[in-house]
Symmetry: C2
Subunit: 355 residues, 2 copies
Amino acid sequence: MKLEDILKGIKPLDNTWIQKARERTAQLVMPTRALGRLHDVSERLCGIQKTLSPSVKRKAVLVMAGDHGVASEGVSAYPQEVTGAMVQTFLKGGAGINAISRHVGADVWVVDMGIIPEMNPDRIEGGDRLLVRKTARGTANLAKGPAMTRQEAETSVLTGFQLAAGLFDEGVEILGTGDMGIANTTPSAAIGCVVTGIPPEEMVGRGTGVDDEGLRLKQGAVIKGIQINQPDPDDGLDVLAKVGGFEIGGIAGCVLAGAFYGRPVVIDGFISTAGALIAGILSPLATDYIFAGHCSEEPGHKAMLKHLGITPILDLGMRLGEGTGGALAMSIMEGAVCVFKEVLTFEEAGVADKA
Amino acid sequence: MKLEDILKGIKPLDNTWIQKARERTAQLVMPTRALGRLHDVSERLCGIQKTLSPSVKRKAVLVMAGDHGVASEGVSAYPQEVTGAMVQTFLKGGAGINAISRHVGADVWVVDMGIIPEMNPDRIEGGDRLLVRKTARGTANLAKGPAMTRQEAETSVLTGFQLAAGLFDEGVEILGTGDMGIANTTPSAAIGCVVTGIPPEEMVGRGTGVDDEGLRLKQGAVIKGIQINQPDPDDGLDVLAKVGGFEIGGIAGCVLAGAFYGRPVVIDGFISTAGALIAGILSPLATDYIFAGHCSEEPGHKAMLKHLGITPILDLGMRLGEGTGGALAMSIMEGAVCVFKEVLTFEEAGVADKA
């Protein structure tokens, strides 16, 4: 599908279903909306899935991996090889996202959106979970010029869209977005600055844990990247191409797919939210289909979520990425669905409502 | 067991296991403590269970129900009969706590700690889940005198202790406390004021949703209750007897049992936390064994949790009680355990750690 057709196909969230869902909530045998944001979650799921019987049983997480030229600016505490090594760890089932996904019952798929190493799914442990969709072998250094071409940016978004669409087609009812890519909080912060207008000093954080010198280099890279590239905040592909990353484009594509097919997408932390910001420029309607799994420790994350107008479900000081916060929040969302579908009404329970 | 012996048997939380657990966390293939408070949760579980292989698979919730003489002051939006009706709803499996407990895999037990109606477990739907342990048929009106005798207060605490001990004995690995009792935010607020020193205007909230007049009556009842009864904040049984409730005593007993047997107890919202405050007076060491499931919408809850020195896991604007917030948080805690036990170390994964 062409990006243009995707964007045309995204419709506003259906408020009639949300309204019907609110009417059911009002009848549940508890004080009015006593489960707070659990009700908001279940009702928005009703709106997205256009039903009074929403389901988030079939869960999947797409962990999008990419490498970043800007790593050469010294912006990460880890060497670039760690991107590929972590992809292998995901495939082995040994990372944070694997443990949390098993716990909540989500399938994990790992996507090579553009890492430097070449991996052969047939020759690697757990390779049946690896989807090789390289846009290129790592981005260029955004501090010195555009991270990628506009064409590559579009390709990465369409790739994410198609992967998510494929999962929805197989029956996945809720999709989490994850990321892996050494240095990827740097492009994410750059996107955050461009889109929200917040200055780099407030947006750039320590990511995986850089020291003061690393933080200075990171802020410098973001400032240079924006100055040199002059991304247009009203042009999602321009922002993505100039200061983004392939996995960020893939995540933006997942968000668009959720909105296009009417399936909920749970974004994770700083990097996933940067992807959602790109999607939000391309289609402002798309953000109504997103749930924010958690609020990250990364300082700029709150401002990004505020810009998108979504309230995170969890706030546990997490800052790992991989999709962990989104996957963990799926369990809360499923709890919200259980309440919505299983709790009796005052009438069914034979309990007197408020005088 | 005598209360005296219980209190003597509660030992400080074992920091050597927490320290060992922190060492394992530091080796997990992720940036240092990148999953934030999930690590704190899993490490404290290691300390409580004295193991590096904690488990919270076998979950149970004790929903403690009691009636309250202070209901006659007009402090609740619901008639007193709703306490018994909701007990029946719990037994049918149709309330919020049932839906959430099924979702997280927790068994629900309902305890008649002192409701007004007499219920025969053999003649009621779902009665095999009802434990009748009446201290008395409802408390007296705390705004006019003590809610119960000191002897009744001790009985309610010991009853909660014995019930929790029985569950632990059967292999329950984590226990959630729940409550049901029309008007029970009033005694809870009174306990909160006495223990934390915060004035009634800041502690008393709308509970199930009283209007402005109800709120005024509720604040009045709390003020009168404290003035007339003069509870001694250093004497847990005195506070419980004068301004408490039978289900609150039962919850305090659960908290003591967790500490005594070295099992984690997850408290829920405003009422459960009032129970924990009573337990904390009786045994300050006991609070190290508690997890706070969530932060309630009830305004005084934050101050109560701060007094106990525990940070809530969730913050979702919930204010239902029944144990819902604690049960929902168990899923997050179990996720934390999965991360702790299943994520590979840097060495096992063959990933380079920070330079």
